[in-house]
């Protein structure tokens, strides 16, 4: 082997390429990390201004989220649906569309899964589970398809239509579960799903279910689809430069429609996971805003599936740790939502971050 060949051989060896990739990935995440830190700082100001100690609040959040097996289990449980909605938003963003209706798509997906779960008896789990998941995905997908068609054919802005359909989904399922499908009793919920339609718990005594595994698989699948398939290429091209994509023979409208369908389906799958794995039935209002979390997580994760999983765990920690924080320090749980919104706001201003990082650059 000549020296040149040896050099190339060394360069292409897996570990050093991996390290280089990790390093560039971490550098790319720097603005998001700064945004998170900045958000926590401003959150601390809010806490101090309303008479609470940020140190106590954040410390109990941390111990609540990661302190023991139960905490970790709850953190991952809370993170799971957020991974789905974040992937949903991510996928829509890649195609150039803003799907902010993941909340509604998640809910309608959960309900569809519940329907399948309670309507059939005696099916083997091997069939029942995928069937319920499929129903959830299709329902969520339909909820994404409608705004997509309206945008493609009629130019209706998807920000408004996805938002509106989210409200429709909430009220529709609320109606369903208060009237036709209401289980006996006071609570607005369905009867429990057949055991063959439920997802197993994987970390008792926590609520962590196999839904978490599905989420991780979906994240990997999302990466694969976007980077390694023709469809993913066309989605990304349509999102980055629709005109050039069209000139390259890509049917941009059709790509966007399919992308929004997939996006809705991902959120729907998340809802199914919650219903089938965590609650075992459809409960009115079971989502405390997972759709919004997903949006924030997608942005914090830098619109990359790996970043999304990490950020989702962070936000899951916020939620589960937050519950402990409220119990112990009596800080209202909504500080978590404030923190999330601050992260979104800081991520929305990349120039701000760059500005802070390079304040020494000479002025124009």
């Amino acid at each position: 082997m000549t020296e040149g060949e040896e050099g190339i051989y060394r360069e292409n060896r897996l570990p050093s390429r991996l390290i280089a990739k990790l390093r560039s990935g971490l550098l790319r995440m720097l603005p998001q990390v700064i945004a998170v830190v900045a958000a926590f700082l401003v959150g601390a100001v809010v806490l101090v201004a309303t008479g609470y100690s940020p140190l106590d609040a954040y410390a109990t959040m941390l111990t609540g989220a990661f302190g023991d097996v139960y905490g970790i289990g709850q953190t991952l449980t809370q993170a799971t649906p957020i991974i789905f909605t974040a992937l949903a938003f991510l996928f829509s963003m890649k195609s150039g569309l803003f799907n902010i209706g993941a909340e509604g798509q998640l809910i309608i997906g959960g309900f569809a899964a519940a329907l399948v779960g309670i309507s059939f008896d005696g099916l083997p789990a091997l069939i029942h589970v995928p069937l319920a998941l499929l129903a959830g995905a299709l329902a969520g997908g339909a909820w994404g398809f409608i705004p997509a068609i309206l945008k493609a054919k009629l130019g209706a802005h998807e920000v408004i239509t996805t938002m509106m359909l989210s409200y429709v989904a909430t009220y529709l399922t609320s109606y369903m579960v208060n009237y036709p499908f209401k289980a006996p009793g006071w609570v607005a919920q369905t009867v429990p799903l057949a055991p063959s339609a439920q997802l197993p718990r994987i970390l008792p005594p926590t609520q962590l279910s196999a839904s978490f595994i599905v989420a991780l698989i979906l994240a990997a699948l999302t990466y694969f689809i976007l980077q390694k398939t023709t469809f993913g290429y066309e989605v990304r091209a349509s999102g980055l430069n629709p005109l050039a994509a069209e000139n390259g023979g890509i049917n941009v409208k059709r790509t966007m429609i399919i992308a929004l369908f997939v996006s809705g389906a991902m959120a729907g799958l998340g809802g199914s996971g919650e219903v089938m794995g965590v609650h075992g039935r459809f409960i009115d209002g079971f989502s405390p805003g997972y759709g919004w979390d997903g949006l924030a997580v997608a942005l914090v994760g830098g619109l990359h599936p790996v970043g999304v999983v990490i950020a989702a765990v962070l936000f899951g920690a916020l939620r589960s740790g937050g519950m402990m924080m409220t119990r112990v320090t009596h800080v209202p749980l909504d500080i978590v939502i404030i923190l999330q919104s601050l992260v979104v706001v800081f991520v929305a201003a990349p120039t701000l971050i760059r500005y802070l990082l390079r304040w020494r650059e000479p002025k124009d």
């Binding site: 009220y171 939502i337 979104v344």
Partner: protein, 307 residues
Amino acid sequence: MNIIDIINVGLFAATLRMATPIALAALGGIFSERVGVVNIALEGMMLTSAFSGVAVSYYTGNPWLGVLAAVAAGGLLGLIHAVLTVTFKGNQIVSGTGINIFALGFTAYMSQIIWGSRGASSSVPSLKAISIPLLKDIPIIGDILGNQTPLVYLMLIATVLSQFVLFKTPIGLRIRAVGEHPAAADTAGISVVRVKYLGVIVSGMLAGLGGAFLSLGHLSIFTWGMTGGRGFIALAAMIFGRWMPLGAFSASIMFGFADALQMRLQSLGILPPQIILMLPYILTVIALAGVVRKATPPSDYKPYDKG
């Protein structure tokens, strides 16, 4: 029960009332989009303002101070949106969404702090309806227009004023120029940044007025998420009205009618509440689907780079 129980003068009076917050927020949307900044944070601005108005009224006992606070809160959020999108050239939809999420969390958080409940505040002094002499005695019109809270009249004035300002004054000309062709405005010696800031802050203030109506002019409390998507419906009204104040007003009347009808049907118990509650949102989607092809936005919303 017959049709008169549903369709009567009271319904139209209610229509005007329910249209008010939407119309005000839609005016806000117009001013922001006309300078080239998409503002989907109308919802969050309304909510925060609704809360601020109630909080200040609670502490001072004066609902008008509450209205002022609401307008100020809206303006402040408008300023933040402007800073993020104009100065830092951040993504307008992301910034707007961040503000919306913030509003939800912040209002619930503060609600808990002040009144110990994140769901609802205690009752506070609110605006009373006023009777306009002479006007209220005109049959039918008088019943609709003659006896409303002051904010309704303010909304009507704001609509006409906005139409006038946009099309008959120098600042209106500059607003339209900045949104449609910022480079042209720049080379004409106009400060594009200043006009954009003005448009977005005014947008927040108008949305704030709309929020004040929800909590102080219509009820006398603040409840969690009480805007209920009206900020987004206002965007639809804005598009429907082709970014013109008078047009947005007409569209808001339509949505207000749907809202008023929905409440009336609910109180009459004809259909389950949830089905009725869905109606305004479905109507919005249909309205958007039907109209948008022919409506051209007043701007391409790209951040202006002097280069």
